[in-house]
Symmetry: D2
Subunit: 369 residues, 4 copies
């Protein structure tokens, strides 16, 4: 072991990093059945590098999770949360780039040893499942393929561990609560969401007038655009109407509660205000994490299909089914993505009254009083 107080023997790089253990953990299977397949080492190292980075991602996520576990989240917490989430996105970019190294292995090279590994599969990574669960993925969200092929293949201990994790609140839950707790939004005469509703109505009315009077539109196009406008109108109404919003939740189009959704929208609308700059970066980082995991899954599935080929009718379609479904299901914060729908141009934004600003400022920077 390595002891590093200044009045002791100095620390040895090799010991500190435990390289004997680390570099003694690669045991290819192919030599047991004949010649070593040269590329099996690559297969092992790539997956081990993934696992190291998963560990780091979990380290950051758990600390972020801890910071959210406070009645109010003070500003220095927000700073740490943001920089740790942003670090996660940097790691994710590396994970995506890493796929190009795996792709230097050709399908023919992979054939040399893949039979020895069946059914060990990248989809069995416990740590990756922990990440998904911590972010907010429940078994009920998983697509069938994932549910069956994954949970069934786990050993008892690992399965139990993951199932317990699912019962804890997730990062999604914590973020939702934090957004819900924001002190909204009525001060004296000013009712924010009324002003917002009015601004939306004006905008849509103006749009309608333009469509109806634009001489360059064909009748077909005019009709199409008017229909489109009506749908937009409905969506906006649902946002502010409790029972309409509930329907969107029931049909799984949204996951965030209405209150949290409004909080997130508010941050997006006023992200230029000093007090909202950090919260806005926080929401952006969460969206980035979501998008990058989706990209990673996507590139990963592409790589697997390239390596294994796609059996016509079965494997093939199930590969692209898997792709489509995880693209749509395993996005935890896709509601944040959808927020752009509800933005208004800066010029149309209601100006915030001072007392409201102060209440928000106090909520976000409690230590500054």
């Amino acid at each position: 072991m390595c002891a590093m107080q200044r009045n002791t023997t100095p620390c040895y790089y090799n010991d500190y990093l435990q390289l004997d253990k680390l570099l003694g953990s690669q045991a290819p299977e192919s030599p047991k059945y004949g010649d070593e397949a040269h590329d099996e080492m690559l297969f092992i190292i790539v997956h081990q590098a993934y696992e190291l980075w998963f560990k780091q991602i979990l380290h950051e996520m758990r600390s972020v999770y801890g910071e959210f576990n406070q009645a109010t989240v003070p500003d220095d917490s927000l700073g740490r949360i943001v920089s740790r989430l942003e670090r996660i996105t940097k790691i994710q970019k590396l994970l995506i780039d890493q796929i190009s190294i795996m792709e230097t292995m050709t399908p023919l090279d992979f054939l040399d040893f893949r039979d020895y590994l069946v059914p060990a599969s990248g989809f069995q990574s416990i740590q990756f499942k922990e990440i998904e669960i911590l972010l907010g993925l429940k078994s009920e969200h998983r697509i069938n393929f994932d549910k069956d092929s994954f949970y069934q293949r786990l050993n008892e201990k690992d399965r139990t561990h993951l199932q317990q994790m699912e019962n804890e609140p997730s990062l999604f839950d914590r973020v939702e609560q934090w957004l819900e707790r924001m002190p909204f939004f009525e001060y004296g005469d000013f009712k924010f969401w009324d002003s917002y509703q009015k601004a939306v109505d004006d905008m849509l009315k103006n749009d309608r007038k333009i469509i109806e009077t634009n001489d360059y539109l064909s009748e077909n196009d005019r009709e199409f655009q008017l229909k489109d406008l009506e749908k937009t109108q409905q969506v906006f109404s649902a946002l502010l109407d409790e029972s309409a919003y509930q329907k969107l939740l029931d049909s799984k189009q949204f996951r965030l509660s209405q209150k949290a959704m409004l909080g997130a929208l508010f941050i997006n609308l006023y992200r230029d205000e000093p007090m909202f700059q950090q919260p806005f970066r926080l929401l952006t980082a969460l969206t980035d994490i979501d998008e990058l995991f989706t990209t990673w899954r996507y590139r990963h599935v592409m790589m697997v299909m390239r390596m294994l080929g796609s059996k016509i009718g079965t494997g093939g379609s199930s590969g692209s089914d898997y792709l489509r479904q995880t693209t749509e299901n395993n996005r935890f914060f896709k509601d944040l993505f959808a927020l752009s729908t509800f933005l208004l141009p800066r010029s149309a934004l209601p100006r915030l009254p001072e007392p409201l600003k102060q209440a928000l400022n106090f909520y976000l920077h409690p230590e500054q009083e």
Copy 2:
């Protein structure tokens, strides 16, 4: 203008690159309606950079296309083809990275000027459509959204130009012909595809035995794996059976003719042979180009959804529909992707007889006689 013979005035960097024209081509619309939206310049520059690179990609593709336009494709042509296709993949990677620059523009910033641009859309790039058509995409392959929204919005001249291009043979056609012309595969007693069939049969028979006798399998799993095996068997048969293969073509599961498919498979199986190393790199580069355009489209759609939001029920699902469909339809060389299905382990590969090797060598290196 710039004249650069050594006995003339030296060439001026600015003139050679025609920077006055180039840097005078950015005309934001927003100042016409009020203050300039700061980020409109970014929007213009990003799209112009795309167009410059599209021009370079077309330059490379057309030269590759020309090289394929020969009865046999000599080895120095193959060298040039491969290095130019690989250059295209490098450019594609840059195009993908470029999206991250566009993403520094937030939805709110975009709102400041997007109304002035409607309906100018990235999907209207003529050059990108030229690339798609040159690669082998016909109108009939395009999904409806693409067909309607794109072709309708073009002006007469551009539409006609693209429609004419569709009537020319594409790079896909040229590659297919080149693969078909390979002098296959029977010399004296040796019939390659018989040997291949036998090797496949042995492999599958062995797999069946293992499944039937593995004591660790549950009855359920055994049944599942046997079914899977049968499907695999059917796929392999279709490959070598003319009328079964025709059905796969009719149902659009494959696009490459059977003869070309067999040629490509052959190259994949024997890619370690010196004579097949360049052809194998060529097929790999085509697959890469396909995969990278798919990734680019995917990341592009993600970015657009993030920027514009997704209208529930309509825009939203059409965005992800578009994604899924172009992912599946606009892949020109996905049959090359599927080849992995038909690979055999090196140890099971039939050894090629000398005369066959020589015939292939002559076909691929005609200038070496």
Copy 3:
């Protein structure tokens, strides 16, 4: 021209981007002397893409420069400054990646046309020189090679333009002033720099004790470490001593004024405080920009050497001389780099008194009063 009011003809993508001009600006020289060299197009496009991005960088820099041109820089300005500087770093990363595309051209391919271009050289980009000057590079900082080969080759108009730019205040000057104006640092009994000096003294005293009493150090090592410690001590003293600091300025080890340097150090030390989070990101972005231009120059010189070879004794060494010198000279904000030297562990940091915090807060967020 493109008119896009909603009650007009819609805007056409091609016109909006002025693609006829843009895509008509590539005029290879090689066809004038024989066959077109295939790769000259790449050479042109790569350089034109650089110029487009340089234009974007200048667009962002000038807006940042404008924001700094205020007596106080309010927080919403800070937000814009930071996000625009960070956008520049993203663009720079793309510029660096772009070199790998240029590298797909081999030296032999380049030989096919390079004679026609002499002496047009990438070092002649006016826009890049504008960027350097805007950041703060004066002729006097330029190394000889740069001065001679560049300014001599410019035409009269361009030379005059750049020389005039040099006489304007640069971004460096503006940042320096902003740092200097920070309302420091004495409130009642509290004198910040005295506390800092004391914390430094304690730290160094403790270090000395450890070195003197560590039984595991050889006599040699102990001596070496003590010498090192003394030098550290001198550096710290120079920071707070006006005349010692002036010597560092005179010998060009630092460029930032002492007052600005202290301001920057202060931000670094207290970057966890809410009010300093944006300023800290600002300084970080400036350092990033510096580092990325250095990396770009470095990779660019590597690429040129690979393309042209290095003439032994002359060209060769001048290439690497150039590298070393621009690495050291053309870094505008390297003083910010050096700040790490003066950091203290969080545990040793003096706690800021409330009135000081408030003064700083007012300086940084003047609109919040």
Copy 4:
């Protein structure tokens, strides 16, 4: 342990990758002295990921080294060598990108635990030193800083191990021998290097004439260019003159023997010939590896300077000294870089006579007789 024959228990992902060991190898020091420093985990994981990839690089290098250990290197060996060297370059790019993750740790965060680690330093990685030695770096090439600070800090066992490795032939030696063994270059009347010399003379004579008669040159410029031309002439002569070349070796301007240098030049000149395409890619990959390690060292030093600051006068300058010196010294294949100096335009290249082509072909593809 994991046993994976099909008639056994299936292999468990966790066991196959030995994740218990791998993920149990992170032991931060900071908790021993107080609170855990959050970012120490990142520091450990980053370095461990480096070590995993170093192991992979060594795996590839040793296999390449083995392939070179044959009297002739048959073409399928060449294919494997090239693809494994190219894989190394992909890994190197990842290592460079990985630095950006380390940079998410700020100097202040690092201060929280760096004292516990002194003097454990990244420069102590045994595996990285193995890579350098395997590539061809001897102690005598190392700069002083490197020699002292590195070897002194190793324990006895590691130092001995590395010193023994230095006595083995390196990859550099093997490549040199392979280049030297090429069957050059005289057949009947044809003496290649005479033709090359003549082509060079013609080219230089023509250059001189242009300079002397170009009316647009000032007298100053004419003189300058004529001097430059003379130097070029001397360099070309040295290449073909044994004793002049020896002087270049003695003064350490070149490391490759003259014979090997000529072999490498020949491959570069005729890289369009089918037989030289693989050897050319091989030389390119070696140059890439060199350049990428140089870039990695460079970025690493930049990062360290940013993290630790640069003590004025000592640490600072030694940091940039280190940079400059390792940039120049630790490049193993920089002679391959210099080859561009000696290229001729394709049009000036002597055509190879058939018998020479055949001899070369046999040398490079011995299995094809």
